[in-house]
């Protein structure tokens, strides 16, 4: 990849396509020393969950599942807004019954240790949800197929159930969107996702080992006895949201609610998830973290503007301010207010008019046929956040490739500016 005047990227088309070999990024290796975990794409060759090609979802399926996740985020916010206003409308009644948090398809995986002796589990890491859970033996009702052995509390000397009368149990309401229940004095959690995936089981305490130097006793997690859904072979989910039951909150004494990650440039490379404030690079620029009133578990960000090929788009500040925005590790494609997306698409298409267009791919409506090119030049895209922070998007974050003949602008629009 090369840059011309910082207004374009010139990239090899082949580099947009998946590789079958795992190439670890140098900085992602051997980070056990500094509270870091390796991050891999669930369906890529670096993942232990790597599946047979036939069972990996297609890009169209991934984008469809991404749309389900986004709808769930929106309906959760809408539901909470409705509750805050103490109004029950017909529209609210049509929302999914329990959409506390959300699973998508473009998920990244980290491996953590649970129990004594420690058992390694590959969990989906998710800044858009709060509680951490894994499938547990004896899977009283049902467990889906996972790659790691299913965690067995009976074989751990540090496992204990949480009682129904505990504060932790009552906190489940805000973390999952569901009231906990009780079974023989043991607290029972339930979490349901926007695509009807769910996990139900005992809320429990256990020793959590992130790295050899980062071990937490009495970590609260869900020990799932009835689990179904599109978890793709992962053993469960690592909740990195802002609720007090999330991992950052439970480890706040040590890490001060600070964590960072880097998502790899492709499915065939690795990134990291790091806890605490060590080794944050000097190139990091900070903007304000905001709170969405209807969804306090989400990490709110303030988008101010977008530039394409060095040209700042003419979008009224009220367009972004009116809807608000969040950052989410589990949503694949950035969603923008229609007014903003329309301006982005128009400018991008204008600067890409030398290339033949291709059929839309699901929610992606600006696609190109690069089959006759070995390299292409595309405009840079930058996001502007509050406090003057400008974030250039990597070339592989601008395009989403479904083969050389269908390479698409990797942004989509919400249905309404007010969302």
């Amino acid at each position: 990849e090369s840059h011309q005047y910082q207004y374009t990227h010139t990239i090899h088309v082949a580099s947009l396509l998946p590789s079958s070999a795992c190439t670890s990024d140098a900085a992602a290796q051997a980070w056990d020393k500094d509270s870091s975990l390796s991050v891999v794409h669930k369906h890529g060759p670096c993942s232990q969950l790597h599946q047979e090609k036939a069972s990996i979802p297609t890009h169209a399926q991934i984008l469809l599942q991404d749309e389900v996740r986004v709808k769930s985020i929106h309906s959760k916010l809408a539901k909470n807004l409705d509750l805050n206003n103490a109004k029950q409308t017909d529209a609210a009644a049509q929302l999914p019954a329990k959409d506390g948090s959300l699973i998508g398809s473009g998920n990244y995986i980290v491996t953590v240790g649970l129990g004594t002796p420690k058992k390694d589990l590959s969990l989906i890491f998710d800044t858009g949800s709060d509680i951490t859970w894994t499938q547990c033996q004896p899977c009283v009702r049902r467990c889906y197929k996972q790659k790691d052995p299913i965690f067995s509390p009976a074989l751990s000397s540090t496992y204990s159930n949480v009682s129904c009368s505990s504060t932790a149990c009552s906190s489940l309401n805000s973390a999952t969107g569901n009231s906990p229940s009780c079974s023989s004095a043991a607290c029972v959690y339930g979490i349901q996702y926007g695509d009807s995936s769910f996990s139900v089981g005992f809320f429990a305490k256990e020793k959590l080992t992130l790295t050899s130097r980062d071990v937490f006793n009495n970590f609260l997690f869900g020990c799932g006895q009835n689990n179904q859904g599109l978890f793709g072979g992962a053993a469960g989910l690592l909740g990195l949201g802002r609720n007090k039951l999330s991992l950052p909150s439970q480890t706040a004494v040590k890490y001060k609610k600070i964590f960072s990650y880097c998502l790899p440039s492709s499915r065939s490379s690795t990134g990291f998830l790091r806890f605490g404030n060590g080794r944050v690079s000097k190139s990091v620029n900070f903007t304000t973290l905001s709170t969405i009133p209807q969804g306090e578990s989400f990490y709110g960000i303030n988008i101010i503007g977008i530039s394409v090929g060095g040209k700042k788009l003419s979008i009224s500040a009220s367009v972004f301010a009116g809807s608000g925005a969040i950052i989410d590790s589990g949503t694949v494609i950035t969603r923008l207010p229609p007014t903003a997306y329309s301006a982005l698409r128009s400018e991008f298409r204008g600067q890409m008019k030398q290339y033949p267009m291709a059929q839309p791919l699901s929610i992606l409506d600006t696609c190109y046929d690069f089959s006759k090119y070995s390299t292409v030049t595309i405009p840079t895209i930058s996001f502007l956040f509050s406090r003057g922070v400008e974030v250039p998007i990597n070339a592989r974050g601008i395009l989403y490739a479904n083969g050389k003949t269908q390479v698409c602008l990797a942004f989509a629009e919400n249905s309404d500016d007010s969302i």
Binding site: A28, P264, V280, S281, G397
Partner: protein, 31 residues
């Protein structure tokens, strides 16, 4: 809400600082 998704976060170093209410972005974070 608008949602800043994971495709656009690729290779960025994203730093969540829940203590001081900041979020940071660094380029070329994986290298």
């Amino acid at each position: 809400v608008a949602i800043f998704g994971n495709t656009q976060q690729k290779t960025l170093e994203v730093v969540y600082d829940g203590a001081t209410g900041r979020i940071g972005f660094g380029t070329a974070g994986c290298t």
